[in-house]
Symmetry: D2
Subunit: 206 residues, 4 copies
């Protein structure tokens, strides 16, 4: 894979009563870095249906990235969670940051039911385990804004640039978030950053 | 929806060290019954990739059902679990009953990434809760034989009969299975059967 | 064990936003029954620190039971949960039904740290599993009113009647409760009643 | 509290198929350090019923510590887990490292049913949360070797030195352990060490 093309990495604004979002805490660490000749652009997306997808779509059209790595928060998971698939469904258990709470809606009328991640999911999984970072492959990115963003990026790139790759990774709470919940697991920021560094290196080394 | 057409209900053979499978324990209770004029055919599918889909596909082609209700076991879930979507992926954590354990394989080369259930998932969910039966909508039917069968049925019907409906429901362990596991939840057979009766009535009443 | 002496079985009033409590739903089924010559008295205890213990203590002093079987609700457990031990601690995460919420308090100043159940816990566990009812032995009855009642009964009987036996069993939600929660497991009322019937028979058969 | 007296900190050898034990990984970091004038002695206890207690008892008699902080592994927990109570019960689900697997046995014939931790459990909990380290108070240290060691230390000190304090803290898996399990949560070693540092400082500051 050639990465003269830039890399987009995205995180989200806090939501659901949290004051930080691990996805942006991690993504911003990579902002404006260069890896193997590829420039990394970091974007903080609003946790708002429609707005998040629109901002990402514009960035993809503008930057023409070779790789789009999207990050999000999954507060009930204890591991780096590599998503396999995004589905054409918006079904929100809580309101997004603009108060929208779609139920049983398609993200894109007449869009395909799903897009698979175009990242080598199993290979990333093994790279993380080899580095002693707890990780898992996940079969569902949910039906909230995370899934919506993943679906949109894959949809846009399917048209725009078949050689570009895109995928989504869910991150656990940071410890400072978990202390406010009774049982939630968490992962240290340094381990989360190390995980994404490994993911990027694995993708660029191909 | 007219159901002069017959109904297919399917369950699976036991797998993963179990000696029974709740899906077939439940499905066989409906064998050869008639509901609102529709004849119910019950089929026990082998828990084997490829074979299960082939048997179901033949039955669909032969019976021309108006409704295909597929049942399976999800031993870690405590509720009637109505699946929303089947994905084009075979990725098995344990071998199936013929020793096959596909990894990262598509079910159907060049098939669509996913099919949504054509059942009214949210309405079924509400019908079950109204009847005081614990239920949930699920965003993943896994990537084992259950998902393979759901994908195939929806794929075949997409070609064959756009008016037919099909969907998949995962069932908890029966109590007699849960006693052999340390923590697994379970649900009484009578409640599982009542749940599927309600699902069928809800679908036929439309 | 001779059971010419009566049996006390106790349940609790609903708490924590619930409108029923499985412990009383089950206990009342045994009210005024006779088993192997022993009369069963059922008592619904208030979910209130202090009051619950006082009512039970009076009943024990009045009835002089040979067996005290206390039941309570544990909404996060999926199995019949036989408690091994009660500890001298009141530490409430939520207020009781009178608004009391003790923190880090002993139940009985200068009382022993704990009392073990005087029921044959492992034998009851095996009786339930043999009857295909999911069950477990538990090492903690919590630090809410359930534990307080168990502690008091064992304390009173330690003085009053060394031959009497007493123990506590936590019950899962009933399905009609679980439907109001997102993930909670449950067990059918008929299975819960069958479990307690087996427990009583196992104890009386000794 | 005066800590001219030395501090004992204990961890365990690996067990249950693991090759490391977080409790010893953490405890050895404190070996031979001095905190506020108190010398810290670290001991690696064998995960063997009887042997572990005997070694700890000898060390207590020899060192006359003012504080005994015992650490152990709880692979299913995601947080620093401060134990409240040790019970007089050995009941092992798996064999210890010498192949012993006691069932339903008292640790000490005619010993009291339980000992409460003599550490200020709630205060330690709050200190950890204030430092943004996920922590919880636990009502059960289990019935394996961890509980046995906690029970013995508290029993010995009850006789020997009423002013000495002792308690037990369970630690999550380290990430390098969690990668070998499918779902287990974990915590970074640096955060586990920081937690125990805070615990010691909180105790010494009193």
């Amino acid at each position: 894979m050639s990465y003269n093309a830039p890399i987009l990495i995205t995180g989200f604004t806090p939501f659901g009563g949290e004051t930080i979002n691990p996805s942006w805490q991690v993504a911003q660490r990579f902002a404006d870095r260069e890896m193997l000749g590829a420039r990394i652009h970091a974007i903080e997306l609003p946790t708002v249906f429609g707005d998040a997808e629109a901002i990402l779509q514009r960035a993809i059209r503008k930057r023409r990235p070779g790789l789009v790595l999207m990050l999000g928060e999954a507060g009930n998971r204890s591991r780096i969670s590599i998503e396999r698939v995004a589905i054409n469904l918006a079904d929100a258990r809580i309101p997004d940051n603009a108060g929208k709470q779609p139920k049983d809606q398609p993200l894109l009328k007449n869009g395909p039911a799903a897009y698979f991640s175009t990242l080598p999911v199993s290979q990333l999984h093994e790279s993380l385990l080899a580095a002693e970072i707890p990780a898992e492959c996940s079969l569902s990115a949910g039906s909230f804004v995370c899934n919506a963003v993943m679906y949109r990026a894959l949809h846009v790139l399917a048209d725009l640039d078949a050689s570009a790759r895109a995928g989504f990774i869910h991150l656990p709470y940071l410890p400072e978030q978990a202390v406010k919940h009774r049982f939630a697991p968490s992962m240290a920021l340094s381990d989360q950053v190390a995980a994404i560094e490994i993911v990027l290196r694995t993708l660029l080394d191909q």
